[in-house]
Symmetry: C2
């Protein structure tokens, strides 16, 4: 299949590109290194910093004989998207190309504006590139479980039947995200749905939870092929931070009470989900929404898991509760449905001690590069603070 992959430099983008190319697909990736730029601007460089896309594509070719075609360009520019679509004639486009950090989007006005403009523009351009150059193309868009927030009822898979005053209808499940970044994904979904029902584009919108893991069959072939690994407060995720803190021998920092519960998944399952979505394209005019995670954990449970896995490696780590910089419920109901991918055939890789140990091993190789200053929260969910960022 001819596949355009937007945001191919990312933590998910690069492993996805390698996976699909290894399976024989024609893969074109595009990225403008926005995340790298923002990371260095905020002093949030990753622990594992992948080489640039050209070098990685070359290394990947050496290791596997497979090709990944690389465009360096900005998906927020329609001209770049037109160039990509004309050249690749994609049958599917995977849209990962968004500013991905919630804390970054909450630093202040200019970061909020960049997040809103970039994310909406790329989604808009993806829609119009499909309409103009590849109308049958299946858009696979990376949303987030964070779009739903933490409602007091079960979270359905994108849609909900509402009965009200004796009548009923089916609606997009109401959304209430916890950061501006997550809110831009809500707007993306609104926009994709409008164009699906009005112009007949085909869309799968993936409500993904936080992903963990570094190991894929391709990424383990060479250190140059590992995905980037952020452990900082801005571009890192909570599990990455815990793993890095464990390796560094400092307490795992829990924001507030730690009852915040989310759906998580292994990077290997992201790859599975993308393949399952590609293999079951949707009809013209359909917006299919799939909740993409395999199991839910409270933050305190994640900390316990990391402590236990670290202990098996002889690392003894404590936990420390720090004031929560976010505005979020620290104890809440959380019951999200996730049967869509199960029905498509997903076979989950659960968060085992072995998976954690494997990650701890990899992080340990970069131990000397860990910067402890990057792990305490620098961005508060409040407009009135001035955030002193490096």
């Amino acid at each position: 299949m001819r596949i355009a992959l937007l945001g191919g430099d990312g933590y998910l983008g690069w492993p996805t590109a390698m996976d699909l190319a290894s399976k024989g697909h024609d893969v074109w990736v595009i990225d403008n290194y926005l995340r790298r730029t923002l990371a260095i601007q905020t002093g949030s460089e990753p622990l594992i910093c992948a080489p640039n896309l050209q070098l990685r594509a070359q290394r990947f070719r050496e290791e596997t004989g497979s090709e990944i075609r690389v465009h360096v360009g900005d998906c927020a520019s329609f001209e770049e998207m037109e160039r990509l679509f004309r050249e690749s004639q994609p049958e599917a486009v995977i849209h990962y190309a968004e500013q991905p950090s919630a804390p970054y989007s909450m630093i202040g006005r200019s970061q909020a504006r960049l997040t809103l403009q970039n994310n909406l523009s790329v989604t808009f351009n993806t829609i119009w590139a499909v309409l103009e150059f590849a109308p049958e193309c299946h858009i696979i868009k990376l949303g987030t479980m964070g779009e739903y927030g933490t409602p007091n009822i079960d979270i359905e898979e994108g849609w909900i039947e509402i009965s009200h005053k004796g009548r009923s209808d089916k609606f997009l499940y109401p959304r209430a995200a916890g950061s501006l970044y997550h809110t831009t994904k809500v707007l993306d979904t609104d926009l994709l749905w409008f164009y699906a029902r009005t112009y007949g584009i085909r869309v799968t919108d993936l409500m993904q939870g936080p992903v963990y893991g570094l190991a894929t069959p391709q990424s383990l072939m060479h250190d140059d092929l590992l995905p980037n690994f952020h452990y900082d407060d801005i571009f890192g995720t909570v599990l990455n931070r815990f793993l890095t803190q464990a390796v560094a021998g400092i307490p795992l920092t829990i924001y507030g009470e730690g009852g915040q519960t989310r759906g998580y998944l292994n990077l290997l399952d992201t790859l599975q989900c993308i393949n399952l979505a590609l293999g079951s394209p949707v009809q013209r005019g359909e917006l299919r929404i799939l909740n993409q995670f395999t199991e839910t954990f409270a933050v305190t449970e994640l900390a316990e898991r990391v402590q236990r896995a670290a202990a098996t490696m002889g690392l003894s780590v404590g936990v420390q509760h720090v004031p929560n910089p976010r505005k979020e419920k620290e104890r809440h109901y959380y019951q999200p449905v996730h049967t869509g991918f199960a029905n498509l055939g997903l076979r989950p890789h659960l968060l085992s001690d072995e998976a954690l140990s494997e990650m701890l091993e990899i992080v340990s190789r970069y131990r000397k590069d860990i910067d402890l200053a990057k792990m305490l929260p620098r961005v508060r969910w409040s407009s009135t603070e001035t955030h002193a960022l490096a």
Copy 2:
């Protein structure tokens, strides 16, 4: 009260500015004449073309002795908004400054992009100007009843309690708009709600139906003070088109079956609603949503009303069903709640024969300027057509 009025050149903006200034408020208006620019670009000049804001403010001062302060500038530029907010120190900001045409937003990619970028940018800048320069300021935002679409259940006032699998929670009422323009208002609401609940801004979001009428106590003082009046397929509304067709002696053009039902209101009631909203500011962190219309009509009912009023003036007009250029239900359930403004004290001006006759009289004065070519639909809800616009 010190009031900043964004989009003061518009059909609603100018009458609102005059009304509030007449009531003794300090009114600052800002507009960059975007609608005028787009109207001339699409060959959609209004039948009644108001003078520029400086001239109208001068005429208004001559007639009433009251002052309206005019900024010509673009609310999508934060620098302009900063200038306005620093100078006016508003206690309330009324945000009308959006690209207001559904058909315009559906012409093609560049018009869609302009609508999305302009509307979201102005809302974003309004939010941030309030956060940075006037945190107590009450944002009164013009949304649209079109955000809801035409669901098969009653439309509540912004929010809905959902009971699901034995639990319940309150949500933003799910939205499904019928054009990209209407969808940008859905995104506006999402954005305002995020900033209200996270940063504590005060917002009233008005879900307004189509407005009709030209006469206000101030607009009747001098022809220069009348609001602009569009009757074309792009910037006009259905009632304006019918009135103009009646005066021109040509059949009233109904899109499709004509069972499309919407909530309408008189311009005088828009003014009342704005005053009621201003007089009952909301708490920090609150997003109040009010459905702003006074009665619902199907398009065929509107046509009958216009026919009847025209007959009393000796004008005999027929109706003609034309293929519907839009993608919308032509027969549907429509039961929207609108008790919020009633509870605040709204006393409706209903669509009487007298109100219609008054409008027909005013339109008749401009009869020689009516351009029949402007009244047939030029924009279809389909991406694949090339729209030949002047």
